[in-house]
Symmetry: C2
Subunit: 248 residues, 2 copies
């Protein structure tokens, strides 16, 4: 039966590997990590901040790599000392990552993955942390709630699963509340949106820092006025520190 398997069934499309730097978003904010960003995505959010890992015009820049090659590069960056590996994209869930996670775990690494929850993989249960970031109305994407619930169930109780929603406006905020209503047992992270992400043509524009901070204050006010006391509001810390610069 092996003859039927494509020769590169375990090959992973990698857009970039960089770090160590700190995780800038969500539950692990501030923790040193190496990022492995996968290329390719089933979504195309209106405000995507990593089009170079999404838009197919960048496909030539996505390098097919084996789990061993990826872990070798991660180890080279970390000085061989195990740390948190952050799997991002694009949508990393469309890649075959089970063998990579197994190999890294054998070497003492931990794995966190962020995905929108539109693709379910059984290897979610191997992750140490799973951040589900379903996309709000401002993204122009539709949420498949059954698939999202399936992601949570498949990750299971050995994986720490949290929800993270980017909020630009009142409609997005109402959507975040709906996510919380559907998944009351999961911690919710709310993140003010960034209206100045990189574009296909220009990946490092000047950041609208005052706009991001205005939206952060607005979002805190919303959560407080709403008495939503078990939500956590965090900005994209790396954007505050480095703007939209890549590789940090």
């Amino acid at each position: 039966m092996f003859a039927d398997a494509p020769p590169n069934a375990r090959t992973i499309k990698v857009s970039e590997i960089f770090g160590p730097t700190i995780q800038g978003e969500g539950a692990l904010t501030g923790l040193p990590t190496v990022f492995v960003r996968m290329g390719g995505c089933d979504y195309r959010c209106s405000w995507c901040d990593t089009l170079y890992a999404v838009d197919s015009s960048f496909r030539d820049q996505w390098k097919p790599m084996s789990p061993a090659a990826i872990m070798s590069e991660v180890a080279s960056l970390s000085g061989g000392k195990p740390l948190l590996v952050s799997l991002s994209g694009g949508n990393p869930a469309i890649q075959p990552l089970g063998a990579l996670i197994d190999l890294g775990h054998e070497q003492g690494y931990r794995f966190a993955l962020e995905t929108q929850g539109s693709v379910v993989k059984d290897w979610f249960s191997k992750l140490d942390n799973l951040t589900l970031s379903p996309k709000p109305p401002s993204s122009d994407m539709e949420t498949d709630w059954d698939l999202l619930a399936n992601c949570v169930a498949t990750a299971g109780s050995d994986t720490e699963t949290i929800m993270k929603v980017v909020v630009f406006d009142d409609r997005d905020y109402a959507y975040a509340k709906e996510v919380h209503r559907r998944f009351p047992g999961l911690r919710m992270y709310l993140q003010p949106g960034n209206h100045t992400p990189g574009t296909v043509e220009e990946t490092e524009p000047t950041i609208d820092m005052s706009g991001v901070m205005d939206r952060m204050r607005w979002l805190i006010d919303k959560v407080v006025d709403d008495e939503w006391y078990d939500a956590t509001v965090l900005p994209q810390l790396h954007v505050l520190i480095w703007g939209n610069e890549r590789g940090v």
Copy 2:
């Protein structure tokens, strides 16, 4: 024997109660909370950012309050809905807070306290979260390591205890490493120092934001170069959002 007890043995000296806002520091960053800031401190750090709760010239502004009066004001601010109460100072450990925590817990509130670890109280074990923030050399204070260890032991296993160290320079960084060496089982949070805190005369100066962010980048580089991968580096988020403004 009751005659020997001072009439206000359970009275707490309160500098200010404000919120809900988000917690700006440490393990609970981003979570909505009401702050209860106690007046009085056994330390006098060179870069203290809350002198109005430390310097005795402000003593007239510290209001003696009962646990019931404090919880009444907290509930008024939170709309009666339980949330995280952050006990800060000054050094809140010099106040009698056991009865306050008991009363709040009965009402569904949770309690986080931050202290330098120079005063041990048996009610530490009642806290939900204890942040010990021993002061580095730049503070001009001396650490009593036995008292700090006693704080950890007294808090016990039902309280989530973490270490947070403010870092201004290389000596402070070496001190943070020493804290980690002595308490390897506790999560460490590193926080870049803020050279522009309020003074006794002026509590809301212009913040040196670029200095804070420069120090944040420097601190991330230190941690990464050092392969200190289980430390968490976080800025004072409230300072980035609101500067040194009080009451937010």
